[in-house]
């Protein structure tokens, strides 16, 4: 298995990466163009920060960022707080229906979100959670919970049972087992789970567009606000998009090694 991959695999890899990267690249260069230049795909133009100035003048960027940060990290924290004990129980004390429960959780992800838009909208309205950060945190927690449980379950399954049994004989309670053994030994996996949850929450647009407008609006709403009936202002839309994706791109860049490891965890022995 130590043989080098053939050249065509490398070429194909780069080609796929370029195709995926192209929209981000176009956004990145368009953001530095004037509105007039923005309609052409030319790579030769005089860079300007005009669109960024206009975006900052028009919107409270920092308020959107802070909402995105609170909602993403808040929902991630809450998801993990629920998912870790759930996965612990499913992995180490599986009942008869453990597998079915896991599949059921996953099946909720197969349902189109729009199918439950009206009930959830009404629930949020009655609970006074429309356009509130709390409401979004709860919704994001719920939609990401199946992924969090599944991933934590996969990592916990890799932890030898005997370690926890040894701790139990050593006198550790279930909480101490989790705190002193399970969390430290599966930390890389849980870190990549957390990272994935942050990214998913950061990029989530459906619920944020439908359940928030100004107070709780995260960056996805900020981008959408640049697409309006009068037409698309490509340069400003690109500048806004770049501002919205830049933080999460940086986070992903820094943690890419961890993320790849987490995503392929358990796939290769």
């Amino acid at each position: 298995m130590n043989e080098k991959a053939p050249i065509w695999v490398g070429v194909l890899g780069w080609a796929v990466a370029l195709v995926i990267f192209m929209p981000i690249f176009i956004i990145a260069i368009t953001a530095f163009k004037t509105e007039q230049d923005a309609y052409s795909l030319t790579l030769f133009f005089t860079p300007t920060l005009q669109s960024f100035h206009e975006v900052f003048e028009r919107s409270h960027y920092l308020s959107f960022v802070s909402n995105s940060v609170i909602v993403s990290f808040g929902s991630t924290f809450l998801s993990l707080a629920i998912a870790v004990p759930a996965a612990y129980s499913l992995a180490f004390f599986p009942g008869k229906r453990a597998q079915k429960t896991l599949l059921w959780m996953l099946s909720t992800k197969m349902m189109p979100a729009v199918g439950v838009l009206i009930p959830i909208y009404l629930l949020a309205k009655n609970a006074g959670l429309l356009d509130s950060v709390t409401g979004l945190v709860i919704i994001y927690t719920l939609i990401n919970l199946p992924i969090a449980v599944w991933m934590a379950f996969t990592y916990f399954n890799e932890v030898p049972k005997e370690i926890l049994e040894a701790a139990r004989i050593d006198g550790a309670s279930a909480w101490q087992e989790m705190l002193h053994l399970l969390l430290p030994t599966s930390l890389p996996g849980l870190a990549s789970t957390a990272l994935l949850l942050v990214i998913l929450s950061w990029n989530e647009a459906f619920w944020s567009l439908n359940l928030s407008s100004s107070n709780a609006a995260p960056l996805t709403v900020f981008i959408a606000s640049y697409s309006n009936p009068e037409g698309l202002f490509w340069a400003k839309l690109s500048a806004a998009s770049l501002l919205a994706v830049a933080p999460i791109l940086c986070l992903g860049w820094i943690a890419q090694k961890q993320l790849v490891r987490g995503m392929t965890f358990g796939a290769v022995k």
């Binding site: 005997e162 049994e165 040894a166 701790a167 139990r168 004989i169 006198g171 101490q176 002193h180």
Partner: protein, 366 residues
């Protein structure tokens, strides 16, 4: 230190019964070995004693206290796992200190206990390392050290040597014996390796298919197996079994009719009748090549082990063939016929149900 009693202990998973009628008394300070083939329930029984598996029925007592519903940590036991189960992210010191920290012991107490255990096991120079930096033997010592620091009333060992190479296994086996001599604590040891069982145990418990076949000292199990299973399981190579029928019954012996001959066995024939089907059992070291021997076999192979050799032979009455131990310098040609005999005082007889007839002693063996 503590004694232990198991009364009618039983274990089932839903409708599947994996252990039944387990009755056992373990004296304070005794070294008990559970031995049996894979899947016989020996590890499950150990885990039930440890509190890692629920006891479905019966009663487990450590000392005078009923332990069925007592959590693992409160049973006063320590366990060494087959995989060692060291905490991978902790140093050896913290591995050994973990139980004491959880118990809320002071730093000084923990330090004394860990250093004492490390000294006993000669790992005091490794305390700041993590498990992955250790060899198999060293990890094993840490696992034992972790058990020692807690000063348990009972030590449980679940196949602790099975992941080590042969030479290290022998070395660690001796260390287990020494450890028991030093600590004088009750120890229960699970293995499928009968050499470990024979060399370490004060008392061996032979299990098969979820029940106890026999409990006794290594000597008893070897020389007075209660049934055909124990006779075949204890001893390597295993005992030869030859099918036959009772030809005559004397006061201190019976005569068994075999294919092409007969063999006298010094056993109590009470309950047997002439003509009953029985199985004659003779260990390889008790079967001898003898020109005047009663039965004739054909040599199929010879294995030399340096100081002695094993000759494999086919014989009409022995389905699995015969094995006999001979001096290494004796050579037998494959396909040649040999005549065999056995000392009646060394023969075992099992009735049709596989139960052993009590052995007697014939003064003038025929």
């Amino acid at each position: 230190m503590a004694s232990m009693t198991l009364r009618d202990v039983q274990k089932s998973y839903e409708t599947v019964e994996v252990l039944r009628d387990i009755n056992l008394d373990i004296a304070d300070g005794e070294f008990v070995v559970f031995v049996g083939p894979s899947g016989c329930g020996k590890s499950t029984l150990l885990r039930m004693i440890a509190g890692l598996e629920e006891i479905t029925g019966g009663e487990l007592k450590i000392g005078d206290a009923r332990m069925n519903d007592v959590p693992a940590s409160k049973r006063g036991i320590a366990m060494v796992f087959q995989s060692y189960a060291l905490y991978p992210h902790m140093t050896l010191y913290n591995n050994m200190a973990f139980g004491l920290k959880i118990a809320g012991k002071s730093k000084e107490e923990i330090d004394v206990a860990v250093k004492r255990a490390a000294k006993i096991l000669h790992i005091d120079h490794l305390l700041d390392r993590k498990p992955k930096a250790l060899s198999g033997g060293q990890r094993q010592r840490v696992a034992i050290g972790r058990a020692i620091t807690r000063e348990p009333a009972v030590f449980l060992f679940d196949e602790p040597l099975s992941n080590l190479d042969a030479a290290l296994r022998v070395k660690m086996r001796l260390e287990f014996a020494k450890l028991h001599d030093d600590l004088k604590t009750t120890m229960i040891y699970v293995t499928h390796d009968q050499v470990e069982a024979m060399t370490l145990a004060d008392k061996i418990v032979v299990l098969s298919a979820g029940r106890i076949e026999q409990v006794g000292s290594p000597h008893t199990l070897y020389h007075h197996p209660a049934n055909r299973f124990v006779a075949g399981f204890i001893g390597s190579p295993k005992m030869n079994f030859i099918e036959g029928e009772v030809a005559a019954i004397g006061p201190d012996h019976i005569v068994v009719k075999l294919a092409g001959g007969q063999q006298t066995a010094a056993v109590d024939g009470t309950g047997l009748n002439v003509g009953d089907k029985v199985t004659l059992g003779i260990r390889p070291e008790h079967l001898a090549v003898d020109p005047a021997g009663q039965f004739q076999a054909t040599v199929t192979a010879q294995e030399s082990l340096g100081d002695h050799a094993f000759v494999y032979a086919s014989y009409a009455g022995a389905q699995e063939g015969l094995i006999l131990r001979v001096p290494d310098e004796d050579e037998y040609v494959t396909g040649s016929a040999i005549r065999l005999s056995a000392d009646p005082n060394r023969c075992h007889v099992f009735n049709a149900e596989g139960l052993a007839c009590p052995r007697t002693r014939m003064l003038a063996a025929a």
